[in-house]
Subunit: 441 residues, 2 copies
């Protein structure tokens, strides 16, 4: 019986052209995280089902992949990790003695039995990239994560980024000041969250469609459009007079802003944005997200906020926590759009041709020495004609080929062919090894 | 209802002290792989069950984790990846136009419903680290992978390693020359494979217990103990007279050895070892493994060989392939034993204390500047007393604490406390930033 080789719908193979930028970006993530003292953690793909159920709402429950393994005992049923937050909460509960704050990053795939939309980058398996600080309640923990996101955007060379900042309790206060009760908060925030996609008119229509009175909808939009910015919020303070929680949230945002600048983030990257809603529900304090104005349809590349009610779920008490999720796939898409020339499908910089039996031993040795010099190098493994070897370099996208002609080699020279730039040049082999970057750009 | 936070038996959380060395080693893996032109690939955790079944023998079949998802249609049943070789074969079959040779590395977890033995490092989820060259049939492909393993051992600073090399067809020939039929090959190799664990007497007992006649068992042991080495195999050639396949295998090993040295591997690291058997069955040519004589009970840290019959499984034809598996957990264990001082549980090198309200802004700014200088730095997020901050650094294993006393700060000085080495010193803050490595060893 022949088995048709195929992939499960909604999953994908990542080939070298996908993986090389992915590994580069993950290395940048790790370097930035560690500079801020975040430490790596990994948890198992398989968790007991009862650990996961009930944490993601009714809809989420349906999307958890269950394992077909010892299903007879409900307490031993297994499922695949759906996010990294519930496993973090489990881990924290199982290590009550760990020194707090606990600052961890976790870069692992998660699985959701969702309807896949590959053209929009939505898959049933995707890499989740989370950083979280557990056990610190003040604004310094929030500020540090905002500063880390800013550092990372600079490190990834994604210029002109903006980190939009808001506060869950400030949004709640503005909803109240518009004359609505707390039960309308989810509706209003759900509509405002779509502002980038459907525009102000769309937000208004959606509020009205969900039963928000016209006067209140107009009041909400007027409040959210107040011309305020960090350091200049008097108009907003006036409108929050007597609303303790709202004024407190605003003061927290100003403190957060002061700390973010104090950690070295240039002011132009940080904006107060009252319209930022971020799906909300579990956030309890400041929220933020990072966008690239040069790619307005991309949505946010990183986002997060404070959520003091989740991490203690297995302990039955609140544990303060703030975190961010980094959108790896979106960041990779943004980099591919902004730096298309940087894409590559092989790590190899040089192919040392094996075109002459007289210099074959020297070709192998030269490949070994180039590798020792830090140059990713291949040799044509099964030899063959030079033409075939050049064709392999061409198809693989290997930018340079070194040829050891016997006569030239006798004088210490090799030919360097530039496959992409075109042309070729003679090079002294010792000069080549001493400064390979001069020949292999 | 409270849910008891717990882990599925045979799985584990990897905490910072586990993950920091793991990430370091994986970064070394990737750097070495890329130097040789191996490119990264990832495949989904979930494969169709029919892709996986029948590939790992009856026992393996039982150990595949199946998903409880749309099980009604047998062709759509899903399972978790059991290794990385079958997914590679599937991927190769789905990309018939890829330029060959295809050199890929893959670092991903696999899952096996095996009996866990955590004290021996056996888990139901573990990271598999494979490199394979698909589509090259000559010895150069084999040699390159051996050379890569040697480079990696040097890069990991695991000195004195030995790469033992043998050939599947040479073993077969020796079994025949001992007067046994091909049906005895698996028995003999299975016994010889245990030599390190049970000794020569044990191997002999095991052969006899499996029905190998005494004379043949003695002949096998005599042949395997012939005093031969690369470049000096006359005794073996004499005993293989007339055995074409055996002599061919020996010639292939000599060619492999020549190429490995040609690629720059020092001769002392490479040994011909007729007793190397490596579980066998799917190997078809040269086989090898890397051991550390200083840790004799560790077993092999890396191992592999040529297996020309597997990768074409979905295409119904043979595709030449050679590869190696790197034992990440064993390598981490070896490093922990050989370099216990290098273990750490935080990436953070410096805690900038926030002990004085007068210098709090400066403390934040200094933390930001240390991070820009590449020094992993933390700040005490929720402040508190200096004593508490020092205790946090101590418990986390942060080696240095910088304190900004207001009077000292006024003269451009800070105190640097060395938590592990003990003692403290005054430092000019600009000197500190210019050469942080001088203060934070």
């Amino acid at each position: 019986m022949t088995i048709q080789p195929r992939l499960y719908n909604g999953t994908r193979d990542l080939l070298p052209q996908d993986m090389l930028p992915k590994e580069d970006v993950l290395a940048q993530f790790r370097a930035s995280f560690q500079l801020y003292g975040f430490a790596p953690v990994e948890t198992p793909a398989m968790e007991y089902l009862e650990i996961l159920t009930g944490k993601y709402g009714d809809e989420g429950n349906q999307l958890i992949y269950r394992l077909d393994y010892r299903n007879e005992d409900p307490a031993r049923r297994l499922a695949l990790r759906y996010d990294l937050t519930v496993p973090l909460a489990r881990l924290v509960a199982m290590h009550p003695d760990m020194p707090l704050p606990f600052k961890r990053y976790q870069l692992q795939p998660v699985w959701r039995a969702d309807r896949p939309q590959p053209h929009q980058g939505r898959y049933r398996e995707f890499m989740q990239c989370d950083i979280d600080t557990v056990g610190a309640q003040g604004r310094a923990a929030d500020a540090e994560i905002v500063a880390l996101c800013a550092d990372l955007m600079r490190r990834l060379e994604l210029p002109g980024f903006v980190i939009r900042i808001n506060h869950r309790q400030l949004l709640a206060a503005l909803v109240e000041q518009a004359g609505l009760g707390p039960e309308s908060e989810a509706t209003v925030c759900g509509a405002v969250d779509k502002l980038d996609k459907i525009g102000a008119d769309g937000v208004r229509r959606e509020m009205l469609a969900h039963g928000i009175p016209v006067a209140a909808a107009d009041a909400v939009q007027e409040l959210l459009n107040l011309p305020v910015q960090f350091g200049d919020t008097q108009l907003l303070q006036d409108r929050l007079q007597g609303h303790e929680a709202g004024l407190k949230a605003l003061a927290e945002l100003e403190e957060l802003h002061r700390l973010v600048l104090g950690l070295g983030v240039p002011a132009e990257h940080v904006k107060l944005d009252l319209t930022l809603a971020r799906g909300l529900s579990y956030y309890t304090g400041p929220i933020f997200e990072t966008v690239l104005p040069s790619l307005p349809h991309m949505g946010s590349l990183m986002g997060g906020g404070r959520y003091d009610g989740l991490i203690g779920m297995f302990l039955g008490r609140d544990i303060p926590a703030v975190g961010a999720t980094l959108g790896l796939d979106r960041i990779l898409t943004a980099l591919a759009q902004l730096k298309p020339h940087a894409q590559r499908s092989t790590p190899t910089r040089v192919l040392v041709a094996r075109a002459f039996s007289e210099t074959d031993t020297q070709a192998l040795a030269l490949a070994g020495r180039l590798r020792q010099a830090g140059i990713p190098t291949e040799i044509p493994l099964d030899g063959g004609k030079l033409k075939k070897q050049l064709s392999y370099a061409d198809r693989k996208g290997i930018p340079h080929v070194v040829v050891l002609g016997p006569d030239e080699w006798a004088t210490g020279q090799v030919q360097v062919k530039h496959m992409q730039a075109g042309g070729q040049e003679a090079a002294d082999v010792e000069a080549l090894l001493a400064a390979p970057a001069r020949f292999f750009l």
